[in-house]
């Protein structure tokens, strides 16, 4: 019963729209200030210097594209896979810095690189988003099949699943 609710079409739609909106917003904010975002990436002290600027210039657009795909239901299988990959990467970076005691702003939804970061909260938030992503990954790549758009998510499909 719990599984049915968790993997119901309505929950998937809600997760898709939420994750999609978050990724589009996060990407849009960071694309406005790639220099500031580069500094935020630099503060993590994980990537080699030569990769920081390319990542700062590209990553916000990848986030926006993936977010847009989730919202529109286009290439949904690939979008969920990419979203989970990105969130897992972010979680690893946050966890690594938490372990190393490097306390910086995460640069998740802004390009701020000053002020005190709350690494535990950032990690918890990222893992919550990853859980949503994994639900979508299982639904679209494991339990369900084929592309589904908003229009495809009809109540009829829900009845079929039950």
């Amino acid at each position: 019963m719990k599984g049915r609710i968790l993997f119901s079409p309505l929950v998937s739609i809600a997760f898709r729209l939420a994750l999609g909106g978050i990724f589009v917003y996060a990407g849009a904010v960071k694309s406005q200030d790639p220099g500031g975002f580069a500094q935020a990436i630099y503060n993590y002290r994980i990537l080699p210097g030569s990769l920081i600027n390319p990542v700062a210039l590209i990553l916000p657009w990848v986030e926006m594209v993936v977010g847009g795909a989730l919202i529109l239901g286009v290439w949904i299988q690939g979008a969920t896979l990419l979203v989970c990959g990105l969130l897992a990467t972010f979680a690893s970076a946050l966890f690594l810095n938490l372990m190393r005691g490097i306390d910086v702003d995460c640069g998740c939804f802004s390009t701020a690189s000053s002020g005190t970061g709350n690494a535990v909260w950032y990690l918890f938030r990222d893992l919550a988003l990853l859980a949503m992503g994994l639900q979508l990954l299982l639904r679209y790549n494991g339990m369900g099949s084929g592309d589904r758009s908003l229009a495809d998510m009809s109540p009829r499909e829900g009845r079929e699943k039950n």
Binding site: P34, N43, G49, I58, W61, V62, L82, G101, D103, N141
Partner: protein
């Protein structure tokens, strides 16, 4: 016979999962490429001044960290220490602090600035010179601490860039782990 049916079913299930995974991978790569293309296009159209390569120079990094803050040179910090006025604030994590720190330093990671701000305020009002430091040119912790304290009304916190390494390498006294 039943074994054969099960194997066929298993095979079918395996290929179904494999086909789905391949499709997801191809789509993910395509989305990634679209994102990269848009990023390249955006930089070209908007004429962003951030270069593709070259990384970030040491000076650039220090300037970004110190924006709006006051830097203190190693010689000035040494003079302040000799005159007994230096209040060293070690912004590193407690683990690093416990392995060694500047003489008389107080361990204040940026996240703990609020808890220690009253004590620091009293010492600053008594004429001590607050000097925040951490380790490494690219370490943002000392600047974050200085900003955090300024937000709590403690002005004049100076930043000793790459303080721990430079102080130790100069041969100045340090307090080692006990």
């Amino acid at each position: 016979m039943r074994q054969g049916v099960r194997t066929r079913k298993e095979r079918k299930a395996f290929f179904s999962i494999w086909a789905r995974s391949s499709k997801a991978l191809v789509q993910a790569m395509a989305l990634l490429l679209v994102g990269i293309a848009l990023g390249v296009l955006s930089k070209a159209i908007r004429g962003l001044d951030i270069p593709w390569s070259g990384g970030r120079s040491e000076r650039e990094v220090v300037a970004t960290h110190l924006e709006g803050l006051e830097e203190i040179s190693l010689d000035e910090a040494w003079k302040a220490y000799q005159s007994g006025q230096a209040l060293f604030l070690d912004a590193r994590d407690p683990g690093s602090f416990s392995t060694g720190h500047l003489p008389g330093a107080v361990n204040v990671p940026p996240s703990e600035a609020e808890g220690d701000s009253e004590e620091i305020r009293v010492l600053v009002q008594a004429g001590m010179i607050p000097i925040a430091y951490c380790d490494g040119v690219d370490c943002p912790l000392s600047s974050e601490l200085a900003r955090g304290l300024r937000e709590r009304g403690i002005e004049g916190v100076k930043v000793l860039v790459n303080g721990w390494s430079r102080w130790r390498d100069r041969g100045y006294p340090v307090e080692d782990a006990k």
